[in-house]
Symmetry: C2
Subunit: 254 residues, 2 copies
């Protein structure tokens, strides 16, 4: 029996602890194609590299794993991985495990989730996994169990075509996890700020900073459940049409 083919990628880069944990979680479940950025690509959203060439190198960083590093973005990694497969199609694409959560509107900024959305666009069941811990040495041991559980579910049941999953895992003791919640994307936003500094030549530069703030009262959201110690699963699609506005605007424009 052929093992399922699992493409794994991330946005923190090939050497991050999170993608090592992702690999650990699924390496016995399937045949792995590992292709991840050669440098951190956080916040790259759905960017692709069109104005520059992309480098792609085979790496022996992971013993016994078919692994590549790529100079591009997470979405470039998915495209390049599919290119390397020469017509074979992954059974599932997994991205992460991200160091830091990707709930709510962060799906738009997240390279981790963009890789999963790109997978959905390729018609491949895809999942982005994130843990609410930004530290390099975050503990992914419970997250690995979640990855294995959800990957097996998808390999068995598939996913609705054109969708992917945004999975966020709270960084609490396993005994404090209340369960898994299927829910919707929360409606929270970054309150941005730019920190103005001077470089050694006395010229201005800026760092984007900010805090993520939710003002909504709806509790059926990923942000709410994650804050209440649930693993959250949001099914996502790449159709960004606001369908309820289509008819409204027909009057508006005439």
């Amino acid at each position: 029996m052929n093992l399922p083919l699992i493409l794994i990628t991330n946005d923190d880069g090939y050497a991050s602890k999170g993608i090592n944990s992702l690999l650990n979680a699924v390496k016995e479940i399937g045949e792995i194609l590992f292709i991840a950025p050669d440098s951190p690509q956080s916040g790259m959203g759905h960017a692709i590299t069109v104005n520059n060439p992309v480098r792609c190198k085979k790496t022996n960083f992971f013993k016994g794993v078919n692994a590549y590093t790529c100079s591009g973005t997470p979405v470039d990694c998915v495209k390049m991985g599919i290119h390397l497969l020469k017509g074979r199609k992954p059974d599932v694409i997994l991205s992460g495990i991200n160091h830091g959560s990707n709930v709510s509107t962060n799906i738009l900024y997240s390279g981790t989730m963009a890789a999963a959305v790109e997978g959905a666009m390729e018609g491949i069941p895809s999942v982005g996994f994130s843990l609410t811990d930004f530290s390099e040495n975050a503990d992914f041991s419970y997250a690995e169990q979640v990855v294995a559980f959800i990957t097996k579910k998808i390999l068995k049941n598939g996913l609705k075509k054109g969708t992917c999953l945004n999975v966020n895992i709270p960084n609490v003791l396993e005994s404090d996890i209340k369960g898994i919640k299927i829910c919707k994307q929360g409606n929270a936003f970054w309150e941005d700020s730019f920190e103005n500094r001077k470089d050694p030549m006395g010229k201005d530069y800026y760092w984007l900073t900010g805090s993520f703030a939710s003002k909504e009262t709806d509790t059926e959201t990923d942000i709410h459940y994650l804050n209440n110690n649930y693993v959250t699963v949001v099914p996502c699609q790449y159709d960004m049409t606001c369908h309820t506005s289509v008819n409204e605007l027909k009057n508006w424009i005439s």
Copy 2:
């Protein structure tokens, strides 16, 4: 009477013909804050600059216009523009006019549209404009009329909160334009390819290429109407939840 405040940006860079046409189209309608990338940012999607500082410089490139260049992405430009306004809020954000169309799933890759989506997330009515002509010297004269028409409509009527518009304009004679269609995002995809080349040191590098292909039979889409000489307007939202999947998955996961 105060003029409305119009923030304009793009992804082709501040010196492109398209953003000059955008400025031309609206400079008499409102007070302008111009902030655009200092280099081309095509394909940057919703990327933000988090691992590097951002530069922002006032420029006199446009006589009599409050204008800045920014080293970041189109979304960085929107965030920086709002930062520069110190609490004042733009009445509308306009992005483009892009050299090349942004129909269908290209909304995900497009820096032009990401700037508009970011505007929607800020609660500001926003529009991305694109012309189906990639050339540097594209003729934007009819597109300018479309920009002025839609901007005036929005300033008068507003837009549903949390939405923005994806406007694509066919590159045909004005006399061949059939009208404006409000429609949905088409379901077409890039058939990607990577061209493998050798650098002068004999090492491999790759260029992402491909062709955009639609296989759908649904004709109520932007890609269909644009191909039939309509100006297309797709109302877009940033909620990527596939709501129909939420209940289905509740059974799936239990």
